[in-house]
């Protein structure tokens, strides 16, 4: 599906889940994002790839305002993401994020990691938060580790807990920022399987990843970025079999050689 089709589709339906219009971001004099236009429908799964420094992490970090942007507009299910603290909170409660380095809280058990934000941010009761946490820890197949501390788990286990922790907020969108890049190779599969399961259940997802097998299997669209701009955007079949840009071909050549 092309960008134009996506826009048409979203106009026909209700509001897109995420709408980025002409977004630009600078770090001082350095332009990190150039004219980003992206519309993500509910239930859509996007894989974002590109060389390091191409702006993919910056792009998804703008969506939940971990980074601010200077020009254009981002809307998450209709709510404008700007510097207003109240709207930032509202958006963050609807957008889950999984980080490269897991970022579990070391001083809390796995269960407490999952219960913290629902209780403190959504105002859930303890029993309710615990029931949700246990259910989602079960879903990422790690319930038996609920009383352990993050440092006692493997990288793959920690990342699955991080996914469960984000899901405990019942988000409408999940952002994944290179979720398998910091993992030992033998642990990549367990995390990808969890993400595939999530995709199959219809979660709206934007994944920054170089796992091209994952992209082939679950992505509705693959977006390739370079130098802070979206270079190419296509279905996985089209993206891998007939990339239209030289930059994309070069990138794919390098990525696929490693695998």
């Amino acid at each position: 599906m092309t960008q134009a089709d996506a826009m048409k589709g979203s106009a026909a339906q209700a509001e897109p889940m995420i709408a980025m219009n002409h977004v630009e971001k600078w770090y001082g004099d350095y332009k990190a994002l150039t004219d980003i236009n992206l519309s993500v429908r509910k239930g859509e799964r996007i894989v974002l790839c590109g060389p390091s420094g191409s702006g993919k992490s910056t792009l998804i970090r703008c969506i939940n305002h971990l980074e601010s942007y200077q020009k254009g507009e981002i809307r998450v299910s209709g709510t404008k993401v700007d510097d207003n603290a109240r709207t930032i909170d509202a958006v963050r409660r609807e957008v889950g994020m999984v980080f490269q380095h897991f970022n579990l809280f070391p001083h809390m058990t796995v269960l407490d990691n999952c219960m913290l934000a629902p209780m403190r941010s959504l105002g859930a009761g303890k029993a309710e938060a615990e029931a949700t946490a246990r259910q989602l820890l079960g879903r990422v197949k790690i319930l038996e580790q609920a009383d352990k501390y993050p440092s006692q788990l493997s990288g793959g286990q920690q990342q699955r807990v991080a996914i469960a922790r984000a899901l405990c907020m019942k988000p409408k969108v999940m952002l994944f920022d290179e979720p398998t890049s910091a993992l030992d190779p033998e642990m990549v599969k367990e995390v990808l399987d969890t993400m595939i399961g999530l995709a199959e259940e219809g979660m709206t997802m934007i994944c920054v990843t170089h796992e091209m097998g994952f992209a082939r299997q679950v992505a509705d669209r693959v977006i390739f970025m370079a130098d802070g701009a979206i270079v190419e955007e296509a279905t996985p079949e089209a993206f891998f079999s007939a990339p239209s840009h030289e930059r994309t071909r070069k990138f794919l050549g390098e990525i696929l050689r490693q695998h």
Partner: protein, 222 residues
């Protein structure tokens, strides 16, 4: 050496000396409680969005850390009454110890806060927690754990600094020892005895902090 040891005045004064040890503990614990509040509050204000607030914290830390404790306590006890603020020796001592210890605690705790990876803060924000919640629930405990050994030695030092509060006759071990020494001239016995007392007090304090570590900071880390 013709000096003959005579512990009689010390033995007769023992109940007073032991009671004075409690005074020392009270000053130390009161001072520490205040220092912790000033320390954590100062760390938060040190990163305030308002520049004058940040400068005020920096100036406070510089002022306190670069002037003698004795002058600070004299200032509070003798100079502030001229401005209409008159306090008894013991509250004065606790405030002076708290302010002094607080200035050091700000710098120590700040180091701990800076040692927390940025990803921890981002994870908290991404989960919809406010900045204040992130600090209180996510940053503070690991930060305190990281610097707790330094904070412990600073607080043992604060405990020993209580003896300087004898200069304004606050109720504590050194003051009471001085009174016994003045009336008996048994300097060697009196100060020898309280030296041992201070050793025990320091040891108790270290055990106290060891227990806090064991209870609150014993989560496993790699």
């Amino acid at each position: 050496m013709n000096y003959k040891l005579d512990f009689t005045p010390v033995i007769e004064g023992l109940p007073d000396l032991l009671a004075a040890c409690l005074g020392t503990f009270a000053l130390a614990l009161g001072g520490m409680a205040l220092a912790i509040v000033i320390g954590i509050g100062g760390v938060i204000l040190r990163d305030s969005a308002l520049a004058p607030v940040r400068w005020a914290v920096k100036a406070f830390v510089e002022l306190i850390r670069n002037t003698p404790f004795l002058v600070q306590i004299f200032f509070i006890y003798f100079a502030l009454p001229l401005a209409g603020l008159r306090l008894d020796p013991t509250p004065t001592a606790i405030i002076a110890l708290g302010i002094n210890g607080g200035a050091y605690a700000i710098e120590i705790i700040r180091g701990g806060v800076q040692s927390i990876p940025k990803g921890q803060i981002e994870a908290g924000l991404a989960l919809g927690l406010h900045k204040g919640q992130v600090f209180r629930l996510i940053v503070l405990k690991p930060a305190l754990r990281a610097i707790f050994p330094s904070l412990t030695s600073q607080f043992v030092l604060l405990t020993l600094t209580t003896s300087i509060c004898s200069a304004i006759s606050a109720y504590e071990l050194t003051s009471v020892a001085q009174q016994i020494e003045t009336s008996s001239f048994r300097s060697f016995e009196v100060y020898g005895t309280i030296t041992v007392f201070y050793l025990v007090i320091s040891w108790v304090m270290m055990r106290f902090f060891g227990e806090i570590t064991r209870r609150y900071f014993s989560y496993p880390v790699k």
